[in-house]
Each structure stands twice: as C-alpha cells, then as structure tokens.
C-alpha cells in the first residue's frame, strides 16, 4: 500500500549515497533571503543607475566646502559705499603632464594655447620636458573670463589640465587708506589695521567652519538695528555677507593724503600724519600716514611701512599739549583767560630750567596771550602753582593720555605718561610735561583730546566703523563717551582762547571762518639731548569754532625748510580746511550764523 503523506519537516541530513546535504530552508528563511537580495539589488541599482551622475561627474569645488585658507572675505567700503577692499578671484592654470598620453599632448597643447593665448609649440615643449611631473604651473593669474571658460571645459580636466581658484583681496583705490585697512596675506589672514582687528569677522563661515560669537568684536561693531539703511552701493552686501562700512570718506581721505604728500615734498619732511575727524563724535573721516604702501603689493615694501603712524607711533607733542594744562587750570577755576602772569627769561622748577622758544621773557602777560604766544615759562608756572601735580596728571588721564583710545585698529600704542607714581618721575617733569616735553602721545590721542574740547568736554572713543553687515544682521555703531574731561563752560572758554591762538598763527587762518587751533613744535629727543633743528611740527584745530564739525591734525616729522609748526603744519592745515569748506560747501560764519536758527 502506498501512503501519501506530506512532510514539511527537514530533509534527512544524508542522501542515499551518504553525502552530506545542506539543511532545507524554511519558507520564512527563503523569504528573508529573497528580501535581502532584493534590497541589495535595489541598492546596487540605485547606486549604479541613479547616482551614476553624482559619481561619474565630480562637482566643482563650491564655496561651502572651501578650506579656511579659501574662505570668502567681506568687503570694506567708505561711508558712502565706495570700495576700499573687495574680494576677487585668481585663476591658476596647472598641468599634470604625467597624466597625459604622449600622443595626446599636441592636441592638449593646442587647446590650452587657444585659451591662454600662447604658442602651442611652447606648451608642447613644456609638457614633453616635464612628462613625469604631476604639477607644472602654466599661468599664475589667468583672466577671469579665461579661467571660467577653462573651468567649464570638461575635456581639460580629463586631459591633465587643472584650474585652481583662489580668493584674493583687491583694493580699487590702491594705496588709499592703506594704514587704516591693513593687508591680507596669501593665507587669507589680515595684518594690521581693520583687516587684522576684524579678521575673524570678515571671514565668512562655511559648512565646516562656523566661528563662535566674539563679544569683543561684536561690541566694536555696535548694536543691531532693524531698519538700518545701507549706503546705495553695488559692493555691499558682498558674497561673503560680512562687510564693514567705515566712517571714512573717500574724498576726504584722498584729499588728506594728497595734501600730506604735498606738504612732505614742500617742507622736505621725513614723514607725516593727517587726521580728520568729527569732533562731536570722534568718528574718523580720514587718517593718512606718509610714507604709505599699496596693500595689493605688500611683499614689495619694508614692513616698517605697514605701521600706522597715527595710532602706533608715539612722539612728544610739544606746545599743543599746553591746551591740556590750560584746560586743567581753567577747570580748577585757578585762572581765567585774563589772569596775569610774569613771564620771565628763565623759570627753575625742580631740577628743570624752563625757557621760552626764543629764550626771552615777555613780562606781564595774560593767560590768553601766554597760550597764543605759546609761552613755556608761563605754562610751566600755571602747572606748578595753579594746577598742581595731582590735578594736572588727573586731567592728563581724563583726556585719555597714557592709555589706548579703543579705536578698532590693530597695534594701537598707549603712549607714555610718567606720573608721580612712576619711578622715572621727578618734580621738574611737571613743568616740562605742561608744555608737552617728556610725555609721549600718539597723533590720535592728541586729536581726540582736542576733540573733547570741541565736544563740550566729553571724550569720545574714536572709531572708524560706521555699520556692519553680518548675513541679514545690520549693526550700527553709535558714538560712545569714554570720559568727561572738562565742563562745557571750560570747553567754551578754552575754545575762545584757541580761536585767539589760531588767529595769532596767520598761516592757519581762513578769512571769514573762525578756527580754533594750536601749533606745536617739539624737538626730537636724542641721546645727546634735544636738537633744535630736529623737530616734529603739529597743528591741530577745529571749525566752525561756534559749532565744531571738523577737526584736523597735521603732524610733520623733521621738516627741513623750517623747523616751526607755524611755517609747515599750519599752512597744511589751512589747505585741508579750505578743501573741506569746498567739499562740504560751508559758507563763511557771517552768512551761516545769520541764517541758522
């Protein structure tokens, strides 16, 4: 009898011949294998069919995948949007002859030559001579249209020709404002000036590099403003969207640099500085230093050129510093402009013997006359007998000397003020310091201290940043008060005294305009003492005196035609002031005051 039965169980482990057989799989196991196979097949299909384009044609390098060296860098523009520093690109054409087939070299040379406008035979010789080399530079700086055309030619890439694109800094105004800007090296790192101070801000973040918040930088950039209006300029926002809008005016900067260069040539000076600022806010409108450099060609210059003399070079200010002494005395109500003094030939105080510039005493003089005629003896007497050690050095500190002003530029020097707490201080220092000897300041500190007189006694932090763009966030920098040096009343009195002092300097005055100013001629200290023929001449002044809008500081180092500020710095000041009057169309005081409310 034959019995049919269904046996779903496993097959016996051995067949009839006794051979070992694989155990029979259950339905579930078969299904699992089938499923896994289909998954694998579909993944292979997906990779081969769908992704073949991605794998087959590697995409070009995109901005999001740039290493740090190649990160985009934001633009720096002036207050009206004119570009000082922008991002461009350099196209480097390289060949890998070792990746070329020898018989294909002539055709490749022909093609590359047509792009680079070179002789094909010459390129062929280069390829053949370097056939084992993986890297041969064909063009370090191909024009953008050529670089882009070559980048979009797929044949070149497969035939051993590559195009590397590097972001580079470009300065449309060349050397203009170079000391303020600084420069960017080949590694995309900023040096000096704004480029160094704001290096981490200007570099755009990438997918890989997202820098954390920097409270110091953010504080320097001001507060976010929702409805801030940017200057109408095609240069901002830049592709990096990390841009800085400066308080500088391109026109004033150009004028300041031109006038400074003229002055240095005319008076045969070694170097010089011009600063133009808004005295009521300490916003820098122009900051010129000579000699300067072109940041696009920075490797060709002596590194000493990179130093901004307006903020990093200290000097003895000379008679301009008398303003601080008179401010301290007026503020203490120890003197008035009419207070009389006996101006003698010599005045001995401590270990110092003080004399006037011509070694002659003037006899009875008022404080007003002493300032106008820049009398050292009377100024020293005021410091010693009317102000005193403590009040004098307190006033010096309130005006911001001996400390950084806080301007947003790299390498600012604090200056040197040896007060009574210093071991290098002696009693006679009070007398010499009172007229600007034995004390070192930066031109910016001096300008900012005089600006405080124009601003009713308030010392503001000088600044070059007006606005900034950080993606969609716009920050606006507001003026910031650092300290109050003197009262508004003292400031008004001192301004009137400065107007009289400027009128005493005929080379500085402009008919019809009241200018408040002061000359300073400082002998340069050397190992053998002070030399009369080696001077630093300064004129600092502001106008209109009744409502100060512009402050100008001119400093010339070792002018040869004359050692005196009244003959060198003062006429330069006047030319710059005249230019500003023209540029801003400022009417004479009589007309302006007649029509103003």
């Amino acid at each position: 009898m034959r019995v049919y039965h269904y046996s779903p169980g496993p097959l016996p482990p051995h067949d009839q011949e006794g051979k070992k057989r694989a155990p029979r799989l259950s339905i579930k196991q078969r299904l699992a294998i089938l499923f896994a196979t289909m998954v694998v097949v579909s993944l292979i299909l997906s990779a081969q069919v769908v992704r073949h384009q991605v794998f087959g044609v590697a995409p070009e390098t995109t901005s999001s995948k740039l290493p740090e060296k190649l990160r985009l860098r934001g633009a720096i523009v002036d207050a009206t949007g004119h570009p000082f520093a922008i991002q461009t690109f350099r196209y480097e054409v390289i060949a890998s002859p070792n990746a070329m087939q020898e018989q294909a070299m002539p055709a490749i040379a022909e093609k590359v030559a047509s792009y680079l406008n070179r002789d094909p035979a010459e390129l062929l010789r280069i390829f053949q001579a370097n056939k084992d080399q993986p890297y041969v530079l064909l063009d370090k700086n191909a024009p953008p249209e050529v670089g882009e055309a070559m980048l979009s030619d797929p044949e070149l890439k497969t035939n051993g020709i590559g195009i590397d694109v590097y972001p580079v800094r470009f300065h449309p105004e060349q050397s203009l404002a170079a000391h303020v800007l600084g420069f960017v090296d080949v590694d995309n790192k900023g040096h000096y000036g704004i480029e160094e101070y704001f290096n981490n801000f200007l570099l755009a973040p990438t997918d890989e590099i997202v820098p954390g918040p920097d409270p110091k930088l953010e504080a320097s950039l001001g507060a976010p403003v929702a409805n801030a209006v940017l200057p109408d300029s095609p240069f901002i926002p830049s592709p990096a969207r990390r841009d800085l809008i400066l308080t500088l005016s391109r026109s004033l900067q150009y004028m300041a640099e031109t006038r400074l260069k003229e002055a240095i040539e005319t008076y045969q000076a070694d170097s010089g500085v011009v600063i133009i600022m808004e005295p009521k806010t300490s916003a820098i409108l122009a900051m010129a230093g000579y000699p300067s450099y072109n940041p696009d060609n920075y490797p060709n210059y002596d590194p000493e050129r990179f130093v901004n003399p307006a903020i990093s070079e200290i000097y003895e200010p000379g008679s301009v510093f008398k303003l601080i002494t008179f401010a301290a005395a007026l503020e203490k109500r120890a003197i008035t402009p009419e207070t009389q003094f006996n101006d003698t030939d010599k005045y001995v105080y401590g270990e110092q013997t003080i004399q006037n510039w011509d070694r002659k005493g003037r006899g009875k003089v008022t404080a007003q006359t002493a300032l106008a005629q820049s009398l050292n003896v009377t100024t020293a007497k005021i410091a010693a007998h009317y102000v005193g050690v403590v009040d004098f050095y307190n006033a010096v500190a309130r005006f911001g000397f001996g400390q950084n002003t806080g301007i947003e530029l790299a390498f600012e020097a604090p200056g040197i003020v040896n007060g009574p707490n210093s071991t290098q201080w002696a009693l006679g220092n009070l007398a010499t310091n009172s007229f600007g000897q034995g004390i070192s300041v930066t031109p910016l500190q001096m300008a900012n201290a005089v600006a405080a007189i124009a601003a009713g006694g308030v010392v503001h932090r000088p600044h070059v940043i007006k606005m900034s763009i950080n993606d969609d966030l716009i920050r606006v920098k507001e003026p910031e008060a650092a300290s109050i040096a003197i009262s508004p009343q003292t400031a008004r009195t001192l301004t009137q005294m400065m107007v009289a002092a400027a009128n005493h300097t005929k080379q500085a005055i402009i008919p019809g305009y009241a200018i408040a100013g002061k000359t300073g001629t400082a002998e340069i200290p050397t190992l053998g003492g002070y030399k009369e023929d080696r001077t630093i001449t300064t004129f600092v002044g502001f106008f209109p005196a009744d409502d100060p809008q512009f402050l100008i500081l001119v400093k010339l180092v070792r002018p040869k035609t004359s050692a005196w500020a009244s003959k060198t710095a003062a006429p330069t000041f006047r030319k710059i002031a005249q230019d500003i009057i023209n540029i801003y169309n400022i009417p004479p005081d009589a007309i302006r005051l007649q029509t103003s409310p």
């Binding site: 991605v54 901005s63 806010t281 503001h460 109050i484 809008q549 023209n582 169309n585 009417p587 007309i591």
Partner: protein
Amino acid sequence: MVFQQNAIASESRTAAAPQARIQFHRAVLVVLLMMGITILLSLYVYQASVNYTVELRIEQKKVEYAREQRLLAAKLQLLGESQNITTMVARARAAGYGPPEMTQIRYVREDANDPLTFNHPTAVLSANR
C-alpha cells in the same frame, strides 16, 4: 480489494485537501509579500532617485552660484578700478575741472533756506569724571 483501495484513496484525498489549501494560501501570501516588497523597494528606488537628483541639482546650482559670484567679483573689480578716485581726479583735471579758489565762491543768502545744517548723532553721556 478494489473497494478497499478506493476507500483508502478516498481517505487520502480528504486528508490532502486542507493541505493543498494551506499550500495555496501560502503561495498567495508569498506572492502578495513579494508584490508588497517590490512596491516598497520601487518606492525606495524612486525616492532615492528623486533625492539624488535634487542633491545633484543643488550641487550644480551651488557650482553655478559660485561661478556667478566669481564673475560678479570680476565685474565689480572692473567697476572699482574705473571709479578709482585718483584716475577720476586726473580725468577731471584733464577736462579742465578743478577745485575752486576761495575767492571764486560767492555765497548768496536766501531767506528760509539754511545753507548748512549740521546733523550729528548724540553720544551717550554715561562716563563719569
């Protein structure tokens, strides 16, 4: 004998019928499962295809955007160079223009028209003496 054989066969058939049904159901189930898996995998392949196509397009757009940025930068470089103030001043001077002398300017007062209004932001006077 024949009857006995028929009876046995009949018994056997009645026992095999549910087995066949079970087999049939299993086969249907397998087919359905296969169809389901195929649909799911097809959907996966389709979705993957869409994703990768979009990714590819994004990559291409990024490349295109980077290229446009570079071309824009080149144009801005030319624009910046053309607006260089030194060149512009030289051009203006060559064309006969220049800054006026103070004596060449005459100011005319017009009622109700302030010729110069200075406008500055006010500092926050937070500092102490």
